[in-house]
């Protein structure tokens, strides 16, 4: 279990104080995939680096299985870091070492004998599907393959936790999907707790159980992904969940309703039924369906003229469909 308590990070070296993190309280349970989402500059990269103390928080506590990392001597901290794997947006592989050498690297640091390290490295390369590329150099691999090597490397020392810092941001959508599937499989089969940092909602949708939304150095909200998706409380969460081209929505004059579907409802022709039953014309401003935690979820933003508005609302209520006023 990872607990962050009252975490604060202020950069002081530039003369002017820059607050990167403020009042961060989070608990990440063992075995879950926890997402941290925010726009760039929100502080999420700093936050994830506070977990393994690559960044030293200005104040607050980082507790790993109840142990306060900040109070540990340097040597002990270095040993604990072997229990926290990390992968990066830029992969950060050693360019002058081949794939096998890269995966062996953390094992060398952990003091594992060369023969054992190679054996373990080959197992991991098989796990990420790259057993036939062990003699290749990073420059000969694609982005997705590099990230697979990085994942194998991060798992070499059998860590309990895996930190992913924008791990798919440099990858195309297909590769992103396959890397996310791999992470999910690692979580399921090896029981590794995964912390995912991203600015993309689709990454959170695809693999996370819970999510923390971070905005302007603070945590805006935390919850189960489906819950935050269905009922975003903070402005930033709405912004991340809803489409980026919100101009058309903002420009619409009528009453705007955000309708939420989940499970079976997503497969029903709700909209046609609504129009047929009420005879009200509605304008679809936005519609989207996605799978979260294996559950199909949909949302739709409708523009309704004021004269029909009560009719539509009562129809929705009558059919037990949840909606929210969109502003």
């Amino acid at each position: 279990m990872i607990e962050l308590r009252g975490l604060e990070k202020i950069y002081r070296d530039t003369g002017e104080d820059i607050v990167a993190l403020q009042d961060i309280n989070l608990t990440i349970e063992d075995g879950e995939i926890f997402g941290i989402i925010g726009l760039s500059g929100a502080g999420k990269s700093t936050l994830v680096r506070c977990i393994n103390l690559l960044e030293k928080p200005t104040s607050g506590q980082v507790l790993l299985d109840g142990k306060d990392l900040m109070s540990l001597p340097k040597k002990e901290l270095l040993r604990i870091r072997q229990n926290i794997g990390m992968i990066f947006q830029g992969f950060n592989l050693l360019e002058q070492r081949n794939v096998l050498g890269n995966v062996c690297f953390p094992l060398e640091i952990a003091g594992v004998k060369s023969g054992d390290a190679k054996k373990r490295a080959r197992e991991l390369l098989a796990l990420v599907g790259l057993e036939d590329r062990q003699n290749s150099y990073p420059s000969q691999l694609s982005g997705g393959q590099k990230q697979r090597v990085a994942i194998a490397r991060a798992l070499a020392t059998n860590p309990k936790y895996l930190l992913c810092d924008e791990a798919t941001s440099a990858l195309d959508p297909n590769t992103t999907r396959s890397i996310l599937e791999l992470l999910k499989e690692i979580n399921r089969t090896l029981g590794v707790t995964i912390i995912v940092i991203t600015h993309e909602m689709r990454v959170i949708d695809a693999i996370c159980d819970r999510v923390a939304v971070i905005d302007q150095s603070r945590i805006a909200e935390v919850g189960n992904v489906s819950e935050v998706f269905a009922h975003p409380k903070s402005a930033i969460a709405r912004e991340l969940i809803l489409p980026s081209d919100r101009v058309t929505i903002e420009e619409a004059h009528g009453r705007k309703l955000r309708i939420l579907f989940s499970g079976e409802e997503t497969r029903l022709p709700v909209l046609s039924q609504l129009i047929l039953d009420t005879g009200c014309p509605v304008n679809v401003l936005f519609a989207d369906t996605k799978e979260t935690e294996g559950l199909l979820q949909g949302q739709m933003i409708l523009e309704v003229s004021p004269e029909f508005d009560t009719k539509v609302v009562s129809w929705l209520e009558g059919h037990g469909i949840s909606y929210e006023e969109e502003v």
């Binding site: 040993r79 870091r81 990390m86 950060n92 050693l94 360019e95 070492r97 640091i109 420059s139």
Partner: protein
């Protein structure tokens, strides 16, 4: 070719000069790297963006290195004669020359090494930190191996610089092609001998450069 050239060649002096130039240059460079490599590493890691910033040490070493680098070699040479005497018991001949070449080259090599190491991607260093690597492991397993191709290129540049220093040092004490050019070419007015020395030096530099570039390219595993 003049009579003097045939005389020198038959006596094996030119051949000896070639050997001495190569020998001095390589020996001085190797010894200079023994000190310059660690010094360059320390200069980098103690710098503000390095893995172990120590301001006072970085400033002090930086000052000493800049101090020696700013003295023209020929002046340093004269100034260091007593130092050579102290270390090898003589201020004449090849042994004294090696001492002076090494002292002149260490700061140069250190800056070369520092700039090569600075090129190593900060992300890779961060990854090593995240795996629990200590400073020593980062230096020996990340910084130096990752900078290897660049370090080789730097060593080639250092070799060529030290070669030219070695020729210069023959004005005071050294031997080799520089001495032959000065004594037999310049002082005894045999321009052909001077040109032979120039030609031979050019060949040596070319060979070093080509071999070094080849080695660096062969070592480098990044995309070419």
């Amino acid at each position: 070719m003049s009579e003097m050239f045939h005389k020198l060649w038959d006596a094996g002096l030119i051949q000896l000069g070639i050997w001495e130039t190569i020998y001095m240059t390589f020996l001085s460079t190797i010894i200079a790297y023994l000190f310059g490599l660690p010094l360059g590493v320390i200069l980098h890691i103690t710098s503000p963006g390095g893995i172990h910033p120590i301001r006072w040490l970085n400033n002090t070493l930086g000052f000493v290195v800049n101090f020696f680098r700013s003295i023209p070699f020929i002046i340093l040479l004269v100034a260091l004669l007593p130092v050579a005497n102290l270390i090898v018991g003589t201020s004449l001949g090849n042994r004294a020359m090696v001492v002076m070449l090494v002292i002149a080259a260490i700061p140069y090599v250190a800056r070369m090494v520092e700039s090569s190491i600075r090129e190593v991607d900060a992300g890779v260093i961060e990854a090593a930190h995240s795996m629990g690597a200590n400073d020593f492991e980062i230096v020996t397993k990340v910084l130096i191996p990752e900078a290897k191709p660049s370090l080789i290129i730097g060593a080639v540049i250092s070799l060529v610089t030290i070669l030219s220093y070695s020729a210069m040092s023959s004005v005071i004490a050294g031997t080799g092609l520089g001495q032959i050019a000065i004594i037999y070419g310049h002082q005894r007015s045999n321009p052909d001998i001077t040109w032979v020395c120039v030609f031979l030096t050019v060949i040596i530099v070319q060979v070093i450069q080509e071999a070094g570039t080849f080695l660096a390219r062969k070592t480098d595993k990044r995309a070419k």
